[in-house]
């Protein structure tokens, strides 16, 4: 377990925890970007170069800005007066802890059965990914393309500012 | 519809290219032709100020002694007219003879706060005695923010010759009108003198007004 892996994992988890626990919403969004960056580094550490750069481009480049814009548009950067956590926060925490316990138990139990030993680092070239994308995965690619267009149009229509309804 | 360049109008970016060629000509020209490089290196080289430049007012005086020859008679019209109220005049108690010889008041204190003055030249326009004109001197920076920028009578007074130097044509017109005025006054005094002489034949003559 190399030191680098621990470093990146610590960065990601710290970012994730901060994104969840901080009071100021904008700080949460920035901590979220730290978590995204940590994850991208983890992907690169796992030799998934294309996925790592795609993660940076899509998440840090677009989703983080989207979250921040949404925070500003809904004026939630001012901390609310009656507390930041919902009333039944204890239940939520208990459920999350339970889920983690189950997952951790499952991982540790099956630690033996997992493929041991460091597999040879697969030299994945962008050419292979391109061929795979347009070869075996051409159907999912078209579906995701359709989905992205639908999501884009849908998001615009949902968030559009209706002039007439607001005046009523 | 579009009036002038209908056909040329549809080429997108055509205006941008024209603009770019213009600036390129300007850029290349500035190394070559003088008229494309109009700026000079200020302290070392200076561009002669244009005739009608005006910065801050100054008081004109005739002859050598600035106090005696001062044209200003402290009528305080300019003080009232000045929009930012930057002129302060204190009138004298006694009188002194002016250029024509007529005893006039004179300002014991004539301050202009040049940090407030906006060079609008209204004082020059309203002054009936051509006593205040606009100077072209602009290097007036001082360390002292308040006192240094409040010019007193003595610093404001400059000779008529200096006035001729900076505003030649205007000074010439002013002198011509003053001379005409003086000639009219002399003619009037001589006419009065003759009339007095004629009446004097019946009644003893009054003492002549102060001459030069």
């Amino acid at each position: 377990m190399s030191l680098v892996f621990y470093l990146f994992a610590a960065l990601t988890l710290a970012g994730g925890l901060a994104a969840v626990l901080l009071k100021n919403t904008i700080h949460c969004a920035l901590a979220l970007t730290v978590a995204f960056a940590g994850l991208a580094l983890l992907f690169l550490d796992l030799d998934a170069q294309f996925a790592g750069f795609a993660q940076i481009l899509v998440y840090i480049g677009a989703v983080a800005i989207l979250v921040v814009f949404a925070i500003l548009l809904t004026r939630s950067s001012e901390t609310p007066k009656d507390g930041v956590y919902s009333k039944n926060w204890l239940a939520g925490l208990a459920i999350a802890a339970g889920v983690f316990a189950v997952l951790a138990w499952a991982v540790l139990q099956s630690a033996g059965g997992l493929p041991q030993g460091a597999a040879a680092t697969p030299a994945v070239t962008v050419l292979q990914i391109g061929n795979a994308l347009l070869g075996r995965y051409v159907l999912p690619l078209e579906i995701v393309a359709l989905l992205l267009t639908a999501a884009m149009i849908g998001a615009v229509i949902v968030a559009m500012h209706e002039k007439e309804r607001a005046q009523r | 519809m579009i009036t002038d360049n209908t056909v040329g109008g549809i080429l997108l970016g055509e205006g941008i290219l024209k603009g770019l060629t213009e600036t390129a000509k300007n850029f290349a020209g500035s190394f070559v032709s003088a008229e494309r490089l109009t700026t000079v290196e200020y302290p070392e080289q200076r561009v002669a100020p244009i005739e009608a430049t005006r910065v801050f007012p100054f008081l004109v005086y005739d002859g050598k002694d600035w106090e005696a020859g001062m044209r200003c008679v402290a009528c305080q019209i300019c003080e009232k007219e000045c929009p930012p109220k930057c002129i302060y005049i204190e009138k004298s108690k006694d009188k002194k003879p002016d250029a024509v010889g007529k005893p006039q008041f004179y300002p014991t204190k004539f301050d202009i706060d040049i940090s407030v003055c906006m060079s609008c030249q209204i004082c020059v326009e309203v002054c009936p005695f051509e006593a205040i004109k606009m100077d072209t001197e602009f290097e007036l920076s001082t360390e002292d923010r308040f006192g240094g920028l409040l010019l007193g009578r003595e610093q404001l007074s400059k000779s008529n010759e200096y006035y001729h130097e900076i505003h030649a044509t205007e000074a010439a017109n002013v002198d011509a009108s003053l001379a005409a005025g003086r000639a009219k006054v002399d003619a009037k005094t001589t006419a009065v003198a003759i009339a007095a002489a004629v009446r004097g034949a019946e009644v003893p003559p009054r003492p002549a007004e102060g001459g030069d």
Binding site: N24, I26, H27, L30, T33, Q49, F50, F53, A54, I56, L57, I60, G61, A62, A64, I65, V68, F69, L72, S77, T125, V126, L127 | I2, G9, I10, L11, L12, G15, I16, G19, L20, E22, T23, A24, N26, F27, S30, F31, R36, L37, T38, T39, E41
Partner: protein, 391 residues
């Protein structure tokens, strides 16, 4: 001898790294080139500030700085000292941590963009297989630092400037990517050194640069427009519109942090024009075959400085665009043209060699250009402004 001149830096690096024990050599080699980049480009930035001020001056019939040192060469030193000694004021209500981090994030991400640019034959810091994607990933994360700067200064003007800047950078990032995808499609690889090698051939002495192909020229024009907008320069410098937004998102910054933002903006300009030369102007390949003896890195840096001069030239000429014109232009003109350019590039690739592909591709692009111009002019979006006096 020629070969040595071309590879002088690579050989020097090997020689220098040779002193270290074998284990440390790869790390030292990378560190050495990182140090070179971190010293070289700020020096280029200093040179460009003088170039810009003198160039703008000459365009506006004045001389430009010539007091500090001969021909004003020491002006950047003066600016540097001034920005270092100026007091660094942080507004009381500002969010200190985010306010402090914003310039750092900007400069770091922009510097990381230089890692993949091939600056000469075999002179690339990290020859990543997905180099272009890495470059755009770094380019995309500069927007976040702009937003952090704008929001953390808690000042209406800077927030407005940040919003405008982020909106502009996002809407011009799409055409930027699209125009470079055309190049990737023709070369068949995302790695920048492969792209430069693909352009490094000559027929009758003329190079195979992509700008000399119809889709390449259109792509380069779109790329240049998007690059100018991406770095908030010249006609698109709305976020720092002095007249209305004081200084946009870096209003509340002073002293060294402001200089960092300044550096970040110029470095973004270098890296975007560096990528432009790599994609369309044949990176480090010589313009003519008989000029092959000149070292390759000279070509890269001369093309880089040439595009910087074009940036300055644009800044001296064009007035600033309004925000809606800017957005309108991006989504209604630049993006459709880049999409069409993508299709034309595909057509170019599958029409095979021969003169007909030249004719067809240029015909399509010219037609689209005229149609877009005619359409734009008729609806009055783009053409000269028409005034109607109130009758």
């Amino acid at each position: 001898m020629v070969e040595r001149m071309d590879q002088v830096f690579v050989l020097f690096a090997h020689w220098l790294v040779g002193f270290l024990p074998a284990g440390w050599q790869p790390v030292a080699a990378v560190l050495l080139s990182v140090v070179v980049i971190i010293c070289l480009f700020p020096a280029l930035f200093a040179l460009t500030t003088v170039l810009e001020r003198k160039g703008l001056g000459r365009i506006q019939n004045r001389i430009g700085p010539n007091r500090t040192g001969p021909f004003g060469i020491l002006q950047p030193v003066a600016d540097g000292i001034k920005s270092l000694t100026k007091e660094d004021i942080v507004p009381l209500s500002a969010d200190a941590v985010v306010h402090f981090l914003a310039p750092l994030v900007l400069v770091v991400t922009v510097f990381m963009g230089f890692a993949v640019l091939p600056m000469g034959r075999g002179m690339v810091l990290a020859d990543i297989d997905a180099g272009l994607l890495f470059f755009f990933a770094m380019g995309a994360s500069t927007e976040l630092s702009v937003f952090m700067a704008g929001w953390s200064s808690r000042n209406k003007y800077s927030l407005l400037g940040a919003m405008r800047a982020v909106a502009q950078m996002i809407s011009y990032e799409v055409p930027l990517l699209m125009s470079s995808v055309a190049v990737v499609m023709i070369t068949g690889s995302l790695s920048l050194s492969r792209i430069v090698e693909a352009q490094n051939h000559y027929t009758w002495g003329l190079p195979h640069w992509y700008i000399f192909t119809p889709w390449g020229l259109a792509g380069f024009v779109m790329y240049a427009i998007a690059a100018t907008a991406e770095t908030n320069r010249s006609p698109f410098d709305l976020p720092e519109g002095e007249s209305e937004l004081v200084a946009g998102y870096h209003t509340e910054y002073s002293g060294f942090k402001f200089a960092l933002f300044f550096l970040g903006e110029y470095l973004a300009m270098f890296s975007i024009s560096g990528l432009g030369t790599t994609l369309f102007l044949g990176g480090w390949s010589a313009p003519f075959s008989f000029l092959g003896w000149v070292p390759s890195w000279i070509w890269f840096f001369s093309k880089l400085m040439l595009s910087i001069c074009v940036f300055i030239w644009l800044r001296g000429t064009l007035p600033r665009l309004r925000q809606d014109q800017l957005m309108n232009f991006a989504w209604k003109f630049v993006l459709p043209m880049t999409l069409l350019n993508l299709m034309v590039a595909a057509l170019w690739r599958f029409l095979g060699d021969g003169w007909e592909r030249w004719v067809i591709c240029s015909a399509i692009l010219l037609l689209a250009y005229l149609a877009m111009g005619w359409l734009g002019m008729r609806q009055g979006h783009i053409g000269p402004r028409r005034y109607r006096y109130a009758d």
